[in-house]
């Protein structure tokens, strides 16, 4: 397959920086998926700053949009936690995940850009944050008794239950990371193949339409599963 045309890579090439990945630290930090990840982070930060720059009592424009997002998300999390204190603890993480993943997914639909989430390192990174955060929350809310979550109801069964629990958690990590990665990369590969095989005009349109839906659904699922796992870790025992 031909190398895709990426604007940020061309820009870095013009500046004389290594932009195509490689072995060194600078090469790794400036690989294409990292460049577009920085772009998505930048868009998140700029959106947040613009929305909170001059806040009014009666919101207009971008502030209105962001307030709707924050309020809706808060209600959605509270429906699952049934406790406003817990909601406020996990809210920043969940809100950032959704905004970042939505922006990162939709970047792939623009010509000259790619989805950073179509690289498994990015999705595994997001998943690692979510997993470590919810285990820490479990220890914070249940103390050392959080280990009882892994031991099952009967103490005599604990040596058998422990590996079972460990594998069920590994399964969660993989299913979170690989689902997002697989959906995004399959969309990109399908689009690329259709562009090459069937011509550039109308043939890739159905996949584009599907891609628009899938981008939103995947971001929503990632957010919802992070909430579900956090809530389960914070609850008391079985």
């Amino acid at each position: 397959m031909e190398h895709p045309l990426l604007f940020l890579t061309l820009l870095l090439d013009a500046l004389g920086l290594p932009a195509h990945g490689g072995k060194g630290i600078l090469e790794q930090a400036l690989a294409p998926h990292m460049q577009y990840s920085y772009l998505a982070m930048g868009i998140c930060i700029v959106l947040a700053i613009m929305a909170t720059k001059d806040m009014k009592m009666i919101p207009t424009g971008l502030q209105n949009l962001m307030e709707a997002y924050v309020g809706g998300l808060e209600d959605f999390i509270t429906e699952q936690t049934h406790d406003r204190k817990k909601t406020l603890i996990i809210f920043p993480m969940i809100g950032t995940f959704f905004l970042y993943i939505v922006i990162a997914n939709y970047l792939g639909l623009l010509p000259g850009f790619m989805s950073p989430t179509a690289n498994i390192n990015v999705t595994l990174g997001c998943t690692a944050i979510s997993i470590i955060a919810y285990h820490s929350l479990g220890f914070r809310f249940n103390g050392i008794g959080y280990i009882k979550h892994f031991m099952g109801p009967v103490p005599a069964m604990a040596p058998v239950m422990f590996p079972i629990e460990v594998f069920s958690h590994i399964g969660r990590i993989l299913s979170l990371a690989i689902r997002l990665f697989g959906n995004m990369v399959s969309k990109e590969i399908l689009l690329g193949l259709l562009f090459m095989l069937a011509g550039p005009y109308l043939a890739p349109l159905p996949i584009m339409f599907l891609g628009v839906l899938v981008c939103l659904i995947q971001a929503f699922i990632f957010m919802m599963l992070s909430i579900v796992y956090s809530v389960e870790a914070m609850s008391h025992g079985h």
């Binding site: 429906e79 699952q80 590996p163 079972i164 629990e165 460990v166 594998f167 069920s168 958690h169 590994i170 399964g171 969660r172 993989l174 299913s175 690989i178 689902r179 939103l216 659904i217 929503f220 699922i221 919802m224 599963l225 579900v228 389960e232």
Partner: protein, 95 residues
């Protein structure tokens, strides 16, 4: 005819679509978590057999860890399906 007029003509459409999205996501979540926990179990068992014990215990640890992974997957299935069912019951109560 724009989106707003369609939504006004069919009052339940937006909620219905959102519900469909959520159900789809829940179903795919449950299925994938089962598959990947079995996969993780088999891989861990195979690694222990070949790399750590140098094929002295060859088929047995793989089989044992496959069963652990399977049980973990089934546990994920029960936990997730119960949680999603509870959510649905809560929603019905609100209505």
């Amino acid at each position: 005819m724009n989106y707003n007029s369609v939504a006004e003509n069919m009052p339940g459409l937006k909620e219905e679509l959102g519900e469909q999205f959520k159900n789809f996501s829940k179903a795919s979540t449950i299925a994938l978590s089962i598959v990947f926990s079995i996969f993780a179990g088999v891989l861990a068992g195979y690694y222990l057999d070949t790399k750590v014990f140098h094929e002295k215990t060859y088929p047995y640890l793989t089989i044992l860890f496959f069963i652990f992974g399977l049980a973990g997957g089934i546990k994920n299935f029960f936990i997730l399906s119960k949680r999603f069912q509870d959510e649905d019951i809560d929603k019905d109560k609100k209505k």
